[in-house]
Symmetry: D2
């Protein structure tokens, strides 16, 4: 076994225990073959010690990164508030939304033009037409535009209109897309996949950082668990945990994270209390007739209330909103 460890270029330290023997394999860097040791005779477990990401790690950069894109700034004292509809539906809708969320205090507008949908028969978004409507809404309000990109070939097109490229949960490990965003000069909002570990999220971010783009926002939007009373389970401990491991700012999505209008505000407040650097919230003029996600979308009045309540929490953690 010691020989096998050494054949992988590692130094083997042998520690004799009373019931088991531990062989510590020490090396300059991560070695792919280490996990193969598990199949060796008499080997019970291989336990990794090193974190597998580098550029994303807090060890590399002690201060939280502040990511700025137009009117949006995330990572500093001010909490970034990204709000808007799930899908861009009409120019009227998105401009009305932009004005309403800006008035309430949002610092960026969200809205999907390219929509990844579970069913091929669902509304797939207005595509470039939707992007143009988002640009119009930005002109009218000054709000930065956050919108999803779902394929590497679209990165350039979406980047022409958007201030922040959103990578959705389903695409967190779409590596070509990560690489394409790594070459963009736009900031990237990277959503955690519903069954991704924190290491996997940080390694996905590492693809973007390694591509040359340092402007990455991480987003916790809920994981899949046995719970069925919420659409996903929103694990807010991710916020302080991520902040201890990475310098990248952390955004919370209480809309997807709960899937129910009447839970969004409570979890938005909880997210800020947990230390989130930003929030992303679904808002629509008429949620009951939204083309997607209406059951988790706030109307303007509910969003104003959310802002008022969140502002008080923000102050209680020495931040602004």
């Amino acid at each position: 076994m010691v020989k096998h460890v050494e054949s992988l270029g590692l130094k083997a330290n042998v520690i004799q225990g009373s019931e088991r023997t531990v062989i510590a394999a020490v090396g300059e860097e991560r070695v792919d073959g280490v996990s193969t040791l598990e199949s060796g005779p008499g080997v019970d477990e291989v336990l990794p010690i090193l974190a597998p990401y580098k550029l994303a790690s807090r060890e590399l950069k002690a201060d939280t990164s502040i990511v700025t894109a137009g009117s949006l700034s995330v990572g500093g004292v001010q909490i970034g508030m990204i709000a808007g509809p799930c899908s861009v539906e009409t120019e009227e809708q998105i401009v009305a939304c932009a004005k309403a969320v800006k008035k309430a205090g949002a610092t960026a507008l969200r809205g999907g033009a390219f929509k990844p949908r579970t069913s091929p028969y669902s509304f797939q978004g207005l595509k470039e037409e939707g992007l143009r409507m988002l640009a119009t809404a930005r002109e009218e309000t000054g709000l930065a535009v956050v919108t999803e990109v779902i394929a590497p070939d679209d990165v350039e097109l979406v980047g022409k209109y958007a201030d922040v490229l959103q990578i959705g949960a389903r695409n967190m490990q779409n590596y070509r897309l990560l690489e394409a965003c790594g070459k963009s000069h736009r900031a990237v909002l990277l959503k955690r996949g519903p069954s991704a570990t924190i290491d996997e999220l940080l390694l996905a971010a590492e693809y973007i950082l390694d591509g040359g783009n340092p402007k990455v926002l991480l987003c916790e939007r809920g994981i899949r668990t046995f719970e069925s009373h919420t659409r996903f389970t929103l694990p807010l401990a991710t916020v302080p945990y991520l902040q201890s491991k990475t310098h990248l700012p952390v955004v919370v999505d209480p809309s997807h994270g709960t899937g129910h209008t009447n839970l969004v505000t409570a979890m938005a407040k909880a997210g800020i209390a947990a230390g989130a650097d930003g929030l992303i919230v679904e808002v629509h003029p008429d949620p009951a007739h939204a083309k997607s996600d209406g059951y988790q979308t706030l109307d303007f009045k509910a969003f104003e209330k959310l802002m008022a309540e969140c502002r008080r929490i923000a102050e209680a953690v020495d931040r602004t909103l």
Copy 2:
């Protein structure tokens, strides 16, 4: 099929759809046999409509119940704060703890005398001797005592010393224990099992309520998911969701819910922001030498900081701490 539904004492309403037919089985109350319909020929799914709990339901009682036990009150404007060590170890330890947490603002003392432990070889608690130490700590500080009971036969004994009987997560569906607590005049803190649904939690509470004891506190302490960077995943959306379904007050346990000292304070704050009526936190004079759970236990100084920070959040949601 219609006949089968009627043989169970239900009225069958038939609704013809274009691809499927829905038979709505309507009855005065819950019927055990309904789920057997699923095995009938041509039956795809049986979907229940009614909530299965009654006494716990918000429909029964619109106002949140305020549960009071000695110095502890949970459910009103003031947030209940239960703090203390995982295990009672010595009189000196528990009295010191009680004084420290009281000074910091806690309204009740926790401490385990009967400890359910995963391994038969782990420390199992001081039992009645521990209960006496808790009583001494109460005498010295006036703090109500919250302590776990792990078997129906112990309910009377533990009830002699404790103000609140805690039912641990492993025992949430120990029905004999629930029934025994239902006959006690002591308040009961019922912890959610790590894979229990909300309906299961409320039905466990229903056992206690149905036994005649109305003083039930529900506690979210984390669920088991694929996440391994925390001991459990703490789903705070449980707080507003439970509050919409039940009149019973809701307590959050950020210590078990995270399993890491450095995440406890953030999640305590998030719990209050989400609307929790109370918190239960592990505190020990010297966590590094605690007999159990040291890795998730705060020392006195960290607890004072937690209280100071939580107090600001409490104010921001118009509550006191």
Copy 3:
């Protein structure tokens, strides 16, 4: 840190890596305080090396234990087949069931007299009257009786009638019950809790073994996951994994493990192919009118078919059924 490790009675081996330092804490036995090291300054993780169970471990006893109780034998070449209704309802029902499953080839009869039910309003079982009916069924057929015990105080009573005491999934960590079963001379069928790890299951078995009772059968009956098309998710890899770690025989429950009549037979066959030493299957003369679990219960004809198909799989793995 080295001092802290030594203060816990462990020997500290220090291994210098290029980015991190590993301190290997080596001791004669498991030490409770080790996990507290996690909160130490600069400590990232504490990784345990030793399995925490002893008497249950395969290291202690290389051969699989054969557990025998009346007509039932589990752990040898012959696969144990435990079949019968969820609940004992009438003498007629349980005797008819016993005769039918015996004729089809079952080697033991299951049937619940004490029923742990999620709701206090559900049928709770016939209690001692049900036990007497089970004893009658045994007299008529010679089949060993497997029935659940839900409280320590009932162990003696249930043990008077039963050949095997079943500990249900909800009670896997009801330690008083485990201890009481440890003092019984009856064999014990211990079901895995729906969110229990394998270590937790083996430590629960360890409570029984440590109490002096070596006759423990482990039962995989499904875990709670995000999947909702089955009642639980039945992870059959548990079978070979358990067999590599413990000498105790392993039983699979395809009825609770799937929750749907039409999936039971396929998973029974898969269980045997995976190496299960026994199966436990719900069978009822008229599942559509069973008092509990009808949707996952086979009628006599379906059980005969299951037996015929499973027998072929058993032969294909050099076992008998």
Copy 4:
């Protein structure tokens, strides 16, 4: 509420219950807005009745589809056996593998040329060079080639060399990739995402079918749960459940599904016993030095043993291997 239902083009049937009222919304087809009803006043839950997929459904096509690609045929009496290394490393390696697995009875060769890797620093595959090596292996053995495609732009290139395009678990909801594969004339092996529901898997298949490609193989390769003793949890009940819902053939991956060499064979056998139409297994001449996944990869001798044991199970379910 009735008006709202009707405004969505549905017919509303009102059923009065004693405690709640059910409004059954009946329509010719799926309506996007239905879920928005949940946010209506007094609405507790919206329960869907219809399956959302069409082309994949068993209702559409009663017989199981037989998908054929070169030497591979899946869905008939013969079980398809796809075997080979995780990654193509050298021509020598892949040709040796192809010969060995063919000799043992495999009907197709797997091997990754484009590798989606969690870390940007891991080996990413030999790309087109690897595809050429796979083609050489096919020439030498006649085995059909199954290899992964990770981006829409690569579908044409990979399709030039491969007989079956594999869509990995991370890309199950990469809709552009699904659409591109829908336009290919190659068969597609679609792996279930680790947190995908069965409906989501079938809707992903629906994208390919809807694009015009009827040759889709579904693959269960394990889901993410709290279990950590296996890499993923392999839920074999998926096999009979999928077969009841869809006409598409179902393949099981016991290598990724367990993540441990010593569990692969037991789960391969269990998969066949559960009714799988095919298996996909990782095999490498020297797993201990494989560039990826070595810990779950069989060597030639272990694969021969797997084949011999699986053949016996196949016979016991009236199939051939």
